[in-house]
Each structure stands twice: as structure tokens, then as C-alpha cells.
Amino acid sequence: MSDHAPTGIKRWLFTTNHKDIGTLYLWFSFIMLLTGGAMAMVIRAELLYPGVQVVDPNFFNMMTTMHGLIMVFGAIMPAMVGLANWLIPMMIGAPDMALPRMNNWSFWILPGAAILLVAPMFIGGDFLAGQGPAFGWTFYEPLSGQYGNLAFFVFAVHLLGFSSIMGSINIIATILNMRAPGMTLMKMPMFVWTWLITAFLLIAVMPVLAGVVTMMLTDKYFGTSFFDAAGGGDPVMFQHIFWFFGHPEVYIMILPAFGVVSQIIPTFSRKKLFGYASMVYATAAIAFLSFIVWAHHMFTVGMPVAGELYFMYATVMIAVPTAVKVFNWTATMWKGALTFEIPMLWSIAFVFLFTIGGFTGLMLGLAPVDFQYHDTYFVVAHFHYVLVTGALFGIIAAFYYWVPKWTGNMYPPLLSKIHFWVSLVSVNVLFFPQHFVGLAGMPRRIPDYAVQFADWNYWSSIGGFVFGLSQILFLYIIIKTIKGGEKATDQVWESAEGLEWTVASPAPYHTFATPPEVK
């Protein structure tokens, strides 16, 4: 079959092929991961010792801000969309995404958004002057309103929102319309289910984010006062609107990772996923709850006590469906026949470390204790456990699991093992001590700290440098696997189930031109 595809740069610019677009998303997110990671290195270098040695406080704030924004909107979210593009059509037996041209557009908006986001850092050609956003990734008003180049940020967020909404529409349309005959909803792979639910979350909350940044824009440039008490507005309303987006956002980042490990653990346990139906319901329950718990990020703003009680009860409820998921993964491994290929190693690490992040999440949900935890390094440790050892580990597991199908080559086994073990140890040296300094009273987002926090910060920084370096090894592994390696079979893994394993390795440019039959 001829592909009629243009070659060279035009292939990538004009592609409507889900596999090409998936690849573009994944490379984009990896470049963003390294960029945001480099910023984390600056943060950890400044925090290595007490005293201000490396950058001034304004530049430090810009680093924490840009690190957060780039990792959330540039690294984790696009990586998940990249996985969705590559995998969903192959998993449901569809020839491509439902709306291939829009698919091209939803990717190619992203680099423009990223440029708008980082551009203010280079105004005047002096990077170290710290002209970029320095108001935290949560961009709370009125602090963000003081910032001179706010319009760059606002339009970058608008573009990111367009991209996400178009991507989500495409994913929903594909899943609901293009499943192979016989594949009922309750026969879909878990990864497809988690993305279907995630896509609905995205469509629901990205417009809210666009709305809140537009209000900031008109406050700053057109004389409104949504968030300015002097004009009858309310700065706390900003936080309510932001977190109405922000809380579902954290599930947008983690649900597809749940899907990934729900594919991987059964394969290497040689058992079906335990409690498939309850996994689907638990995912839907988590998604629903994510809309009604947002103000647990704001326990200290001075809400009425009834509000605090409600948000506390609703928040801790999330522990129930999350616990169900962890129990199901555990039961899947129980009495299986386990082997420990690289994707399985990352998935097991995910279950352990995400659960630790879940425990601290439960602790943070209790309003009266949150008064002590709030805005400390305990929170930083919590969300890095769920987003780095949760979402990012899920993405890396997915890479190792499906890369033989994508490239036709196996990953280099020894290097990949080194990558896993070095990352696993260093990420814990990096983030575990942050629980300690947070509990002991170190606030987050500070460039310098009181000396009693010195020792644990030192170790956290050392862990950070090693974890950062080990992702350079990951880059090497990716390139090496693309270029060659042991040839993969079509089945790749002994007991992997799903339509993607029925096509050749590497997957041909077009798959399932005629739909497969699912029994």
C-alpha cells in the first residue's frame, strides 16, 4: 500500500497520521521535560545551601513558576495526548483518529503556545534579569496582576486550552464512533477508558481556565476589577475559579497513567486485570469527585466553617475509589506469574510511590491539620509523589512497554535497567526529605531558608541532580532504541492482550484499514 506521504519537514508539518502526530507530541513533551528539568536544577542548586548563592530571589521565583507551568502544560499533558494518539486507534481497531486534520492543528498550536510562554524570559536579551512570569504556576491575583508582561502568559494559556479542547474532542469522537465491530464500551482496554473520562474532564475545565485568565487580562488592561477589592472584586474568587479548573487538572494528569499501569501489570502478571468493571467505575467516581473538592487547596483563605467542613468531607472521599484502584492492581499481581521487564518495574514503582502520594493527599485533606501543612514543602513532596513518581513514571512505563511496537526494536536492557534503578533511588532522595522539612516548618516557594532545614535540603538537591542526569540517559536510550536494537516480535510480550499487539512491529504507517472483529 502506498502512503502518498510527503517526506522531510513537510511530512511532519502537514501530517494527519495519528502515529506521526503521536510521535510529535511525545518529542515535544520530552523537550519540555528537559527544559522544565533544567529549571528544577537551578531551583535545587539555589536550595543546596542556606544563603543566596546562585540567582536572585526574583529569578528564583521565575524558575519555580516556569518549572511548574512547563511541566504541567508542556511535559505531562502533551505526553499523555501523544500516547492517546499512538495507542487509542490501534487499541480500538480504528484506522486513525476521527478528525485527522484537527489532530494536526491541535499539535501544531502547542509549539506556538510554548514560545509565547517562555518568550518574556528573553525580553531585552537578558535572561538573568528575570523578566518572565514569577508569580507561581497558580498565578494568584493580585500578585500576577503586578506583572508587566501578563498578556504573553494569558495568550499562551488560551492557545494551550485550544489545543487541549480540540485534542479531547478528537479523542471522544474517536472512541465513541470508531471502535471495531464487537468492541463494546465495557470491552475497551483500561487505557482507552481512562482517556475517555480524562477528555471529558478537559472539555469541562479548560474553558474555565481560559475564562479566568481572560478576567485577569481585562483587569490588567481594560479597567475591570474582577479580582480587585478596591473595585468591588474579590481576590479569593480568583482562587475559586482557578481551582475549579486546577483540581480536575491534577486528575487529567494522573488518570491516563492509571490506564497505562492497568495495561502493563496484567501483562507481566500473566493474569487479567482484577475487577475491570470496578476500575471503570472507580475512574468515573474519581473524575466526578474532582469537580466538587476544589476549595481544599484554599483552607487558609478564611472560608465559612460550613464550607471547610464540606470540602474536607468531599476531599477525603476520593480516598475510597483511589484505594479501590490500588487494591485491584495488588489483586492482579496476587497469585500471578510475575516477571520484571522494564515496563513492569516502572509500574510497580508507580503503585508504591503513587500510594505514598495518596496517603499524604489524605492527610492534606483534613482541614485542621492542613492549617499546618498548607503552603509548605510537605505539599511540594505530596504533589511530586503523585506527578513525578505517578504521572511521569506512568509515561516512562508506557514508553518502555510500547516502544517495541512503535519502532520495531527492543530497548537496550542493561541501560534501561540502570535508568530505572538510578531514577528510583534518586527520586526518593529528592522528594522524601521534603516531607520532613515541610513538617518542620519550611514554606514552599522560598529561595533561601532557615538553617535548621539545611541538611535535608542538601540531600534533596543531590537527589535532584542525579535524577536530572538520569533523564539524559533516558534520552540516549530513546535515540538508541529508535536507531536499532534487538528486533521485536509482533506480540512483543508473552501475554500482552489487545489489538495493538496483532499488528506488525514496527506498526505500519496505516493500521486497521479494514476493521478487526472483536469477539
Partner: protein, 384 residues
């Protein structure tokens, strides 16, 4: 400074760190757990924290134990054969119910503590804390214990810490680095102290871990919260909400004294305030020499302006240079004074924090330091 210079700096710092280790080990590794509180409700919070911690630990041991068991004994390499089961409704119902029951059990003490914490009635003393970029302002507005009503002052990072924390200062860090202020607030032991928080510019948060109080300070709104210290002592905290460049450098220090000592402090403080007011009134009419104003001006500049406009008035990033700037050289003195007292853009207004003499002195200083050399001498009488 170029980006390559930053890279170099990072490289050498990391090399030193790897070679020397935590050479500046001032502290110990015992800072592992939540700070214990000197208030009863803070102790309740701590107990709740420990309760949930142990519940999570036990749950973790059970779940992780099962996973480890599978990893060790259900390996294919040990000849394990996969069992066929993949669902069991009874088990699912049980492990959905157990977490639910535990949550209800935790919710009971949480609710009790929260309701107690939010009860701000029957306070003995009320202090208003106003957050500024980047310092705290305190007003004693109501007092049933002694006579502190009317006491008012600003509280900023202590001078030695402020010097040591400048980029590349490389000074020895003073005791209580970053947790010490030029003026502490003083409260009586065993009394319910209500703290009203608000802010003048952006959102801040007033947090003292040992007193178990953290509440956002929001411009245009007043929040209330309280603590009751059961033990005399000095308790230190920090701003806990990102409020811009020097968010990390606006500590809070509360000194808890016996009721007797507190009363004495209040009357001494009020006497000192009356004297200062009289002095300021006298000063505003007085004529100062250039040298006097320059000396005073440098002091005011270092404490209030240096953080953004830098030691040589060179500015940096979003903060404009004063050296050779039209405002501080050729422009009219009145505009210069207006910007200091009323603020401009990102710059907060200093009118409420500085006396007429302070403003006159710092204006004179900025117009004559770093080669600005305008020769302008600004007297307090010129400041309205």
C-alpha cells in the same frame, strides 16, 4: 550576567557540593516531624496528624506487604502458575467499605478540632496584622489584659539577616537566620489572642508553626484567627503565601510574656511611641544638613529600597535603576517624593511606613548617591 555565566556558577556549585557534602551542617537530622505546638488546639492538630500518619502507615504496610509477597513468591522464575480469578464482588464490597469506615472515624476528631479552631469568640487581645511587600505591620486594636490599644509598628527582617541574604554576600549566617525581625510582637501567656489578617498589596499568609496559626492576609478583606500560647517564649514563623520577590524574607516573631511583663511592655511601648511622635513632629520643622540626611538616607534605603533597586542603585529585572534615572536626577523633587510615598506599578507605597524625615532623607540620598550628585537637599518640611 549571561546565561553561560549561570551555567558556570551552577557547575562549580554542584562540584563543590559533591566534594564537600553538607559542610555547613548547622542543624541535625531530627527535624523530621511536625512542629509540636505550645497551644492546646495546636496539640490537637498534632495528635490528629499522628493519628492519620499511623493509619496510613498501617494501611501502607498491609498493601505493600501483599505486593512484596507477590513479587517474592509469585514469580514466573519460581514456577508460579497464574491463578484464573479476576473478579470477586464480595471482596470489592469489603475493600470499598473498610476505607469508608476509617474515613468516618477520622472525620469525627477532625470536625471537632476544626470547629474549635474556627471559634474566635471571647478573645482577650486583638492584633491586626497587615501584610506588605515585604514586611508586616501590627496594630493592637483591643486589649482586655493590659493597655496596649493603639500600639502600632512595622516589623521587618532583622538587619544582619538582610545583609547576609543578598546574592553572593557570602557572609556568616546570623543566629535565627531569616527567622528574626527588627521588632517582635509581644503577647501575654495563657490568653486568647485574636489575629486579624489583611494586606496592603497582594495576598500574604501569617504563619507561626508553634502557635498552630496560619491564615491568609488578603487585600480588601479581613480574616480572623486565634491562638493561646500556654508557655512563655519566642516563637518564629514566616509568610506562607507567595507574595513576590522577597516572599522568603518577611518573618514573624511572637514573644509570649507573663501577663505582668506584658503589661509593662505595653506601657513602655506606648511611652516610647509618644516620644517618637513628638520627635517626629519636631523633626518635620527642623532643617537638616546634607551629611545628616545622607547618613539617615542610607539607613532608610538599605532597609526599604535596596532589595529591589540594589546596593548601587543599579536595579535589575523588573526593578528600574535609580542611578542616573531621570526621576532621581533631573526630574522634580516632588515627583520623586510622590513615587516613594504613593508607590508606582509594582512598587508599594511607603507613605504609611516612613516618617517625613525618613522620606526626606532617602530622597536626598537617592539624588546624591552613586554619582547622581544633583546637590539637592530635601527637608522634611517638603514632604506632605
Amino acid at each position: 550576567m549571561s546565561a553561560s555565566k549561570l551555567t558556570k556558577k551552577l557547575g562549580s556549585l554542584i562540584m563543590t557540593a559533591l566534594l564537600l557534602g553538607p559542610a555547613m551542617a548547622f542543624a541535625d537530622y531530627s527535624t523530621l516531624n511536625m512542629t509540636e505546638s505550645v497551644s492546646k488546639i495546636g496539640q490537637d492538630m498534632y495528635d490528629l496528624h499522628m493519628l492519620v500518619f499511623w493509619i496510613c502507615t498501617v494501611a501502607g504496610i498491609l498493601v505493600f506487604g501483599v505486593i512484596f509477597w507477590s513479587i517474592i513468591f509469585h514469580r514466573k522464575s519460581k514456577g508460579a502458575k497464574p491463578a484464573p480469578f479476576h473478579e470477586n464482588t464480595t471482596v470489592e464490597v469489603i475493600w470499598t467499605s473498610i476505607p469508608l469506615i476509617i474515613l468516618v472515624a477520622i472525620a469525627v476528631p477532625s470536625t471537632k478540632t476544626l470547629l474549635e479552631y474556627e471559634d474566635t469568640t471571647n478573645s482577650d487581645l486583638t492584633i491586626k496584622a497587615t501584610g506588605w511587600q515585604w514586611k508586616w505591620e501590627y496594630d493592637y486594636i483591643d486589649d482586655k489584659v493590659g493597655d496596649s490599644k493603639g500600639i502600632h509598628f512595622f516589623s521587618s527582617l532583622s538587619k544582619d539577616a538582610n545583609e547576609a541574604r543578598q546574592l553572593g554576600a557570602n557572609k556568616e549566617l546570623p543566629e535565627h537566620y531569616l527567622l528574626d525581625v527588627d521588632k517582635r510582637i509581644v503577647v501575654p501567656v495563657g490568653k486568647k489572642v485574636r489575629i486579624l489578617t489583611t494586606a496592603a498589596d497582594v495576598i500574604h499568609a501569617w504563619w507561626v508553626p508553634e502557635l498552630a496559626i496560619k491564615r491568609d492576609a488578603i487585600p480588601g478583606f479581613i480574616n480572623e484567627s486565634w491562638f493561646k500560647a500556654e508557655k512563655e517564649g519566642v516563637y518564629r514563623g514566616q509568610c506562607a503565601e507567595l507574595c513576590g520577590k522577597d516572599h522568603g524574607f518577611m518573618p514573624i516573631v511572637v514573644e509570649v510574656k507573663s501577663v505582668e511583663d506584658y503589661k509593662q511592655w505595653a506601657s513602655a511601648e506606648k511611652g516610647a511611641a509618644a516620644q517618637a511622635a513628638a520627635a517626629a513632629a519636631a523633626a518635620s520643622g527642623k532643617t537638616y544638613t546634607m551629611a545628616e540626611l545622607m547618613a539617615k538616607g542610607k539607613e532608610v534605603y538599605d532597609a526599604n529600597c535596596l532589595a529591589c533597586h540594589q546596593a548601587e542603585g543599579q536595579g535589575g529585572g523588573p526593578f528600574p535603576a535609580l542611578k542616573a534615572s531621570p526621576v532621581a536626577t533631573t526630574g522634580p523633587v516632588s515627583t520623586h517624593i510622590d513615587i516613594i510615598t504613593k508607590g508606582k506599578g509594582i512598587m508599594p507605597p511607603f507613605g504609611a511606613q516612613l516618617s517625613a524625615l525618613d522620606v526626606a532623607a532617602v530622597t536626598t540620598y537617592e539624588r546624591n548617591a552613586w554619582g547622581n550628585n544633583t546637590g539637592d537637599v530635601v527637608q522634611p518640611s517638603q514632604v506632605k
